[in-house]
Symmetry: C2
Subunit: 397 residues, 2 copies
């Protein structure tokens, strides 16, 4: 097993860059975790996640394996890792990648500063990759720096839009039932062909479901299943829930998932993922204004106007900027009267630079200036504007 370049599988504490982010996440997660007790009558378990990412992406029709395909210049798998990292109660994330992609993966972890990641070598099939990930978590492995979790989540590297809710649901169900998986209605009717490629029979669509990811298992249940299963299963099987049933005699609890769980499989899915990410980040804006009368008036007018176009508009006087950044808003409109000297804008820029947010998504900062002709000579004003615009342009990725 190899560790990511961030210096170990479980840093003692998150880096300073994302302290704020993690702090907010931890608060949100803590309230989620309390649901373990309230809903399922059980305590919060130790949870790890395994991501098989050894696929070649042959269905995509492009030479790059799909998990490494760029979406807005950032590899798909990095979005998926971010989605899991946001959930603070997932202690370890084990990613199985092929030897030839190991360096690429380490580069991604470093560039996007992913934490809590451990890398293992992928097997030649999906099941073998998952098994390798589970072995890394099992206590019986020599030199293992990871501790065995009570519950393990299995997720796909190419399902970037997984939400904490569904992760919590499968983990809670796995704790109670031993195994659990997300399902979705079938989009197409499923049929069984005969050997001569004619219709043998079709399945009644309403009686079947598509098995999606994430799935979760009591670690011992799924590890025992993998240890006992046949080479045929490891070579040709596709379904972890099936292994838990066949070898550990556990009937998985099935949990209805959201449409977001879809797997990036074809090239068109990359287009869809890009559009979804673009829509999400273009649908929120933060208006930052000084507390002075002029800016506040224009700020409120702007808010009213933007409400008809955008989903999320926040207006802040600069007091709670840190919180805005934590909430992952990437678009800012800063308003200043010339004489107020861009204090808030400068503060925002400093915070953005520190947070390195622009590595993750395109960050847009629009600076709006109101010239106050009465107090300062015009030439002096323009000079200031020029100086500050220079700074602002630098901060936009």
């Amino acid at each position: 097993m190899e560790s990511g370049p961030s210096g170990g599988s479980r840093p003692a504490e998150p880096g300073p860059r994302l302290r704020g982010l993690r702090g907010a996440d931890a608060a949100a997660s803590a309230s989620s975790l309390s649901r373990f007790g309230a809903e399922a009558g059980c305590r919060a378990p130790a949870v790890a996640a395994v991501l098989p990412a050894g696929g070649s992406g042959e269905r995509m029709g492009v030479p790059t394996p799909k998990q490494f395909c760029p979406i807005l210049e950032r590899p798909l798998i990095s979005y998926t890792l971010q989605a899991l990292e946001r959930v603070s109660w997932i202690k370890d994330i084990i990613v199985a990648v092929t030897g030839e992609n190991m360096e690429t993966m380490k580069g991604i972890i470093q560039r996007y500063q992913h934490k809590r990641i451990s890398l293992v070598e992928a097997g030649v099939t999906r099941h073998r990759s998952i098994f390798n990930g589970l072995k890394a978590l099992a206590e019986d492995q020599p030199n293992c720096r990871l501790s065995k979790p009570e519950v393990v989540i299995i997720h796909d590297a190419v399902r970037p839009f997984v939400e904490e809710d569904v992760l919590l649901n499968v983990v809670t169900a796995a704790q109670e039932h031993g195994a659990s998986g997300a399902i979705r209605p079938l989009v197409s009717t499923v049929i069984s062909p005969s050997v001569d490629s004619c219709l043998d029979h079709s399945l009644e669509r309403a009686r079947y479901r598509a098995s999606e990811m994430p799935q979760a298992f009591l670690f011992d249940v799924i590890y025992e299943a993998y240890q006992q299963c046949s080479d045929y299963d490891l070579e040709f099987g596709t379904e972890c829930l099936h292994l838990a049933l066949k070898y550990s005699h556990i009937k998985a609890k099935l949990v209805e998932g959201s449409p977001d769980l879809w797997k990036v499989t074809y090239k068109r899915d990359l287009y869809a993922a890009e559009s979804i990410i673009k829509e999400r980040i273009s649908q929120q804006v933060c208006v930052v204004m000084d507390t002075k009368e002029d800016e506040e008036h224009v700020g409120r007018c702007l808010e009213e106007m933007l409400k008809t176009e955008l989903n999320h508009i926040k207006v802040t006087s600069g007091q709670d900027l840190q919180q805005i950044i934590v909430e992952q808003c990437y678009n800012f409109v800063c308003m200043n009267v010339m004489t107020s000297d861009f204090e808030e804008t400068q503060r925002l820029l400093n915070m953005l630079e520190e947070s390195n947010l622009s590595i993750l998504y395109p960050v847009v900062v629009i600076s709006v200036h109101f010239l106050d002709y009465e107090s300062v000579p015009f030439g002096q004003k323009m000079e200031k504007v020029g100086k500050n615009v220079g700074k602002i342009v630098c901060s936009v990725d």
Copy 2:
């Protein structure tokens, strides 16, 4: 049954606007049709298509039914109709729409000048809509202006990327076997839940296929099946191939389809469709140049340069512009030396205006001028440029 606003279900000949287009399609289709004889040992059958388009699009999460959702400002169903219309051997296209969408559909047919379309009222389920479409084609209907086809294609209004090849394959197979349908590999494993939402069993993914569209049937086979099938089938069934098997005892021939056949189901699919269409139209450009030495040299240089970026580059000296438009290229670069007076550019603009191509897709015309300082005074040149640019801007949608 209602006819579209184009003045009847089968106009005597295509309108003057698309005569060139239809001519080229007819030539291509004629060669495809000859495959009926060569490959299947049978003559070209009379073919019609039925499109159920009565769905509410509830899975899309938007108020507009998905078949009417705009992609690049044009409704999805219009792309699908265009895909079928391009195939000249499909004689009639029957679209089943709900009463409340009848006027919308007529408006679409008129605006995008669709031909060979007849409208029927949709039923409350997909099967009932298809049955209504088939009834309109059956000879036993009173006042029917359509003639009964030998083979009927059933396709979805929300699968816009269907190609002639797969239509030909299912029609040929239906002629031989009585029924045929396109299939695709399963993306997810299919499972059967028990009544308490636990896993009962999972299907071995390799032994099953997703049943997609288009499907094709000998008309009598599928019409008989629909006439005999139960109310339960009409209410809850999803699979035409199943009805042909159950009621007409025909085992459909299954034909491997391309990834393009996917069904626009969720909002993300609209994004994907838009990106695919954008990519297609941005990947082809036609460089139009005069036959004079200067333009020709620059034209060839531009071709070399664009080859690294685009899939389809054509360079024409203006002699075969009509053919370029027929081949549905939407991007043009026109090069003129000032003194050549924009003759080719003007010819192209006239043709584009006549063809109404800009209703279907965004059309881009870039006009490049080489000023010949030696022969004409500068002021006079600029005046000419201004005048012509005005015309060009008008032609771009």
